[in-house]
Amino acid sequence: MTIHGVRAVVRVERSKLAGQIKAQVVLAACVLGPFAFAAVIRLQSSLPEDTLFGRSVRQSGFAVPLVVLGFAALWALPVLTSVVGGDLFSAEDRYGTWTTLLTRSRSRGEFFVGKTLTALGFSLLAIIVLASSSIAAGTLVVGADPIVDLSGVLLAPAEALRRVVLAWASVLPPAFGFTGLAVLVSVVSRSSVAGIGLPVAIAMAMQLCALVDGPEPLRRSLITSAFGAWHGLWTEPHFYAPLVHGTIVSALYLVVCVVLACCVMQLRDIGR
């Protein structure tokens, strides 16, 4: 396996992805969704008070990306991060193209690494687009005013922006964990429906589990808990333990899923 070979696979997968309507629709939704949300908030009288910072969405535009983040963590982030990872491998089964691909000059390992990197890259891109659009929607539609944090301290716009960016950056590890899970399901099941649907169903089951009072270590072992680790960055003083635990748990999910998927891929008897 060579870096040149992996790069070639990534290049091909990227161009295939750029031509897919599914990827374009997802990215368009990431751009337009936050603006639609901010516009609705401006027009209607009620506020999303059951979400953190929901009461502040009319006072400060920095509350908008945090409310979007709170909503997205429930189901949108698992969908965004599985939509490509859950389809990239199983699509070759659906079209029956594995045998054609593997007779080319690229090895099975290069295909696996290249496709996995493409899936992780798309997850990264989708989150960057959604975060940027949310920040732009908040500051342009509502305004870049100071915001009160989760300890009651008023933050200046520059500090608020820094913390919003950090909050969005903190969801990257669990997002990658879900992408790894989607890759594993896609490789094992050879079905895009399972590859995209199962990680989302698992995310919802984990969210339900997290609602029940239970031992803290058990709750922390759920990858969805890492989606809320940014709360500690919005308190005085900050607390980082959930962020550290969440990142470790996410890395474990990603490594275990990718290694298992790689083993299944290597051992697969393609052509039968």
Binding site: L52, L150, G152, D213, P215, P217, F239
Partner: protein, 147 residues
């Protein structure tokens, strides 16, 4: 006990400790954690509210907020769900005030506090210059570390 048996015992204790740490812990939502969080959050919010209303500025520590929290149903005073907190604090003119908040605490250590008494006004207040300002003390959110 020979070396082999000692190794086995150590292994068994290690597994028990791991199982205990994973599955037998109690909820991290405790009165002490909630009280510490809501007292400091409330003090900081009063500090901001005073400046928004155009009153002379005061440090958050000057409000000397003391919180006592319990679950309304009694019984086990631990875990997520509904809580009630009584806050005793010193107002801007140094008189001692008591306010009660109804809280909903989630398993991740975040809560929404809504004032249960009428001393602190409605959702909006009039500032000294006549403008309407959001009453930060009417309902607010906070989070604390559950680890």
């Amino acid at each position: 006990m020979n070396a082999e048996q000692r190794r086995r015992w150590h292994g068994a204790f290690g597994l028990l400790a791991l199982a205990g740490s994973l599955g037998c812990g109690a909820s991290a939502i405790t009165p002490a954690r909630i009280e510490a969080s809501i007292a400091s959050t409330f003090a900081n919010l009063v500090h901001v509210q005073v400046s928004w209303l155009g009153l002379p500025p005061m440090a958050a520590s000057a409000f000397a907020v003391n919180a006592t929290c319990r679950r309304p149903g009694g019984g086990n005073n631990i875990g997520s769900g509904e809580w009630t907190c009584a806050l005793v604090w010193k107002g801007p003119d140094k008189q001692t005030l008591t306010d009660t908040y109804d809280l909903f605490v989630t398993t991740d250590g975040c809560y929404t506090a809504t004032v249960a008494t009428e001393n602190l006004g409605g959702p909006t207040l009039k500032a000294r210059d006549g403008t309407d300002v959001r009453n930060l003390l009417y309902a607010f959110e906070g989070c604390f570390d559950t680890t």
